[in-house]
Symmetry: C2
Subunit: 386 residues, 2 copies
C-alpha cells in the first residue's frame, strides 16, 4: 500500500431541497460578488437559475453571469470568465451545471490570479498558486468534479483536450440534489453512468492491490450495476438517482485510489478522441474501456481481472483467464445495456486520425499504470473500438 | 436515502515515515505551544515520544505534557488537561496514542473554552461552541477517532460512560503510520479489529437500505475479514497493518453511514458494561454483537441480514432466515477467531448489575435504530452474552 496524503475540504449538502443552504453558506464565507456560471439553457428550463438568482438577491449578494459553457468546455470560456472575475471583483464562483461547468470554473478560479495564458496550467507551464473559492450545484451525476480538484479543458486552436488539477481547486461546498437530475435526457444519464464506471476502473485496475481500496471500488461498481437500469427506466426514481449521484462523487473524490498508482490510460485516449471529434466523454469511455481491458489483459494482470469478475459479477470458476474474459464481456454488455453507442464508427469516426491521436496522447507523458501503453497499443485499442 | 451534510476537514498523512510532516504542519497552522497528550508508557517504549519531542524542539514549538490517559479515558483527565491548556496558553493539542487518548483530547479541546463541568457536554447540558485544534498521531487501529468528531468518556463518580461529538472536534490533521502498530500486543490488535467491525455493523444494519453506502460497508467488512488473520499471525506485515488501519478510519469517518439512520445499540450497551467493569471496549462489542443480532433478527429485518450473509460471507441459498442465522454464526466465529473472550463470564461479569445497566442505557434516550430496544431486550442480550 503506497503512502498517501488526503484532503477533502469540500462540504457536501446532499438531498432534496438542499439548495436552500446556498445563501447562508455564501454569506458565512463572506461572498460579496459571485460569478454565476452555467452551460446552455437547461438550468433556465428546470428552474434552478430562477431559484439561485432569487437566493442571491435575498442574501444581498451581487452576481455576474457566464453562460454558454460547452459540454467539452473550452479554454476560451476560461479567459472570458477570468476577465469577468477581475472586472467585477468577484470573490466566489457558483458552478451550476454538470462536470463541464464545474471544470471550466476551476480553470477560471485559477486563471483569475494568473497573468499568462490559462492554457499554461494544462501544458504544465504554470501551476496553481491561488484560486477563487467555488461552490458547485450539480445537475448531472458523472465527473465527480463536485468534490475533487481536477478539470479537463479543450483547446480548439491546438486540437488538444488536457487535464490539470490542484487541491486548491476543490470546491468549498457542493449542493447535490438528486431531483435536479430527474429531467435529464436518457442519453446524458447513460453517458454519465459510463463516466462514473470508468473512473472506478481507472483506479481499481492498477497496482498495488490494496484490499480496503479495492473492495470499496467493487462496492461502487456493484451499486452502479444495480441502480443504472432503474434510473434509465424510471428517471424520477429518487433513491436510484440519489445512489447514482453519490456514487459519482465517491468514484472520484480520491477515496477509491488511496494507496494505489491508478491508471487513467482510457481517459487519456478518450480525451484525444474528444479533442478531434467533440464526442460525449462518457460515450467515448464506454466504447474504449472493454478494448483497453482486452489490450492489457495478460498472464501478469489476469489475477486482477479475475478478482473483478468474481467480486463484482459473481463469476465462479478456477481459471483466472477464463473468468477475466467473461468479466470483460460482462463489462461490454453493461455499457451496451445503457443504450449508448458501442463503436466509434457509430459516431462517424474512422481510422484516419488514429496516428495523430496516438502521438498526441503520448506528447506530454507516458500513459497507463497497469500497463504502460505504446503507440501500437493505443492504435490497437482505437482500431478494436471502430 | 436520507439527506445528509458531510464535512471531512481532517487531512490525513498515511504511511511509513509520515511523522516527518508534524513540525511543518504545526508551524503552518501557527502552533506556538502544544499540549502533548498520551497514555501510559507505550509511546515512550516504541520511540514515538522521543521523535515527537525532537520534532517539536527542532520546530521551536513549546509543549506541556499530559500523560496517564486510561484506555477507558476519565473525565478527571479532561479537567486536568483543560487546566494545563489554560495555564500555558496552549494553542494546539497533539493526541499521541489510541482512540482513548484522542477522545480525551477532544473533550479537553472543548473544555478549554467552557467554564462549567466538562461532564456537562456528555449529559447534554452544554454543547461545543469553540475548541482547540487537534492533531492525532495514531498508534492503534480501532476507534476511527482520528477522523471524526466523536468521543466517549467515563465518569467514575457517576459510574457512567457517555459519548458526545461535534464537527468542531474533528482533528485538523492526523498521522497514520501502520508501523506504529507493529509492536501492539495481540490482544489489543484483536480488540481493535472487533471495534472496527462493530462500527461498520452499527451503520450497515440500519434503515433505509442505501446501496452505495451498504456496498461500501460490505467492502470494509470483507477487508477486515481478509486482513485480520494476517495481522494476528504476522504483526509486522506492513500491508495487512496498513489495510486494517485505513479500514478503521473509513469505518467511522461518516462515509459508511451516509443516507442511513444508523443503529448504535450495541455500543450503548457496551458502554454500560465498561462503565461498571472497565473492560476493553472492543472485547465487549465482540461478545455483545452476535447476541444483539439474534435479538433484532425478525421477519422484518431478515432481508438485511441475508444480504449481509450473501455479500460478505458468500452464503448461498434462497431462505433469508436461514442465511441470516448462518451469517450470525459466521460473525460469532469471526470474533472467536480473533482469540479474545466470547462470553462476559470470562471477564468475571455476572448478571448482578444487568438491571442497573439496562436502566442506565435508557436513561438519556432510547437506543437502537434497526429495532428500538426495550429494557427486556437489553437484559436478554446481556444474559445471552454471559
Amino acid at each position: 500500500m503506497n503512502n498517501f496524503w488526503l484532503t477533502l475540504p469540500t462540504e457536501i449538502f446532499f438531498g432534496k431541497g438542499q439548495l436552500s443552504v446556498l445563501g447562508k453558506e455564501l454569506q458565512k464565507r463572506g461572498a460579496k460578488c459571485v460569478l454565476l456560471a452555467y452551460g446552455h439553457s437547461s438550468i433556465k428550463k428546470n428552474g434552478i437559475y430562477d431559484k439561485v438568482t432569487a437566493i442571491l438577491n435575498d442574501a444581498g449578494i451581487k452576481f455576474v453571469e457566464l453562460s454558454g459553457i460547452d459540454p467539452n468546455p473550452r479554454i476560451t470560456s476560461v479567459a472570458k470568465g477570468a476577465a469577468l472575475c477581475r472586472e467585477n471583483n468577484v470573490d466566489f464562483i457558483i458552478a451550476a451545471g454538470a462536470g463541464s461547468v464545474i471544470d471550466c470554473c476551476k480553470a477560471i478560479a485559477a486563471a483569475r490570479y494568473y497573468k499568462g495564458d490559462p492554457w499554461d496550467f494544462f501544458i504544465r507551464k504554470a501551476s496553481v498558486t491561488k484560486a477563487l473559492p467555488i461552490c458547485a450545484i450539480l445537475t448531472l451525476a458523472a465527473t465527480g468534479s463536485e468534490m475533487n480538484g481536477g478539470c479537463v479543458l479543450s483547446n480548439e486552436a491546438t486540437t488538444e483536450k488536457l487535464p490539470m488539477g490542484s487541491y486548491k481547486l476543490k470546491p468549498r461546498f457542493s449542493i447535490l440534489d438528486p431531483e435536479f437530475t430527474f429531467t435529464l435526457p436518457k442519453y446524458q444519464t447513460a453517458a454519465g453512468i459510463a463516466d462514473i464506471t470508468s473512473h472506478v476502473f481507472e483506479q481499481y485496475f492498477s497496482n498495488p492491490d490494496v484490499p480496503i481500496t479495492d473492495r470499496l471500488c467493487e462496492g461502487v461498481l456493484k451499486t452502479i450495476i444495480e441502480c443504472a437500469p432503474i434510473v434509465l427506466e424510471e428517471p424520477e426514481n429518487y433513491d436510484a438517482r440519489a445512489n447514482i449521484m453519490w456514487a459519482s462523487t465517491i468514484a472520484l473524490n480520491s477515496i477509491l485510489g488511496l494507496g494505489k498508482e491508478e491508471d487513467w490510460a482510457t481517459h487519456m485516449i478518450e480525451h484525444e478522441v474528444s479533442a478531434q471529434y467533440d464526442i460525449t466523454h462518457g460515450v467515448g469511455l464506454a466504447i474504449l474501456t472493454p478494448n483497453w481491458m482486452k489490450n492489457v489483459l495478460s498472464e501478469e494482470t489476469k489475477a486482477k481481472f479475475a478478482t473483478y469478475g468474481r467480486n463484482v459479477w459473481n463469476i465462479t470458476g478456477t481459471d483466472d483467464m477464463d473468468i477475466s474474459l467473461k468479466a470483460i464481456e460482462k463489462t461490454a454488455g453493461f455499457f451496451k445495456s445503457l443504450g449508448i453507442p458501442t463503436r466509434l464508427s457509430e459516431l462517424g469516426i474512422d481510422d484516419s486520425r488514429f496516428e495523430v491521436m496516438a502521438d498526441s496522447a503520448l506528447k506530454y507523458h507516458g500513459i497507463g499504470g497497469l500497463k504502460r501503453l505504446s503507440k501500437v497499443d493505443i492504435i490497437e485499442i482505437l482500431r478494436n473500438s471502430l
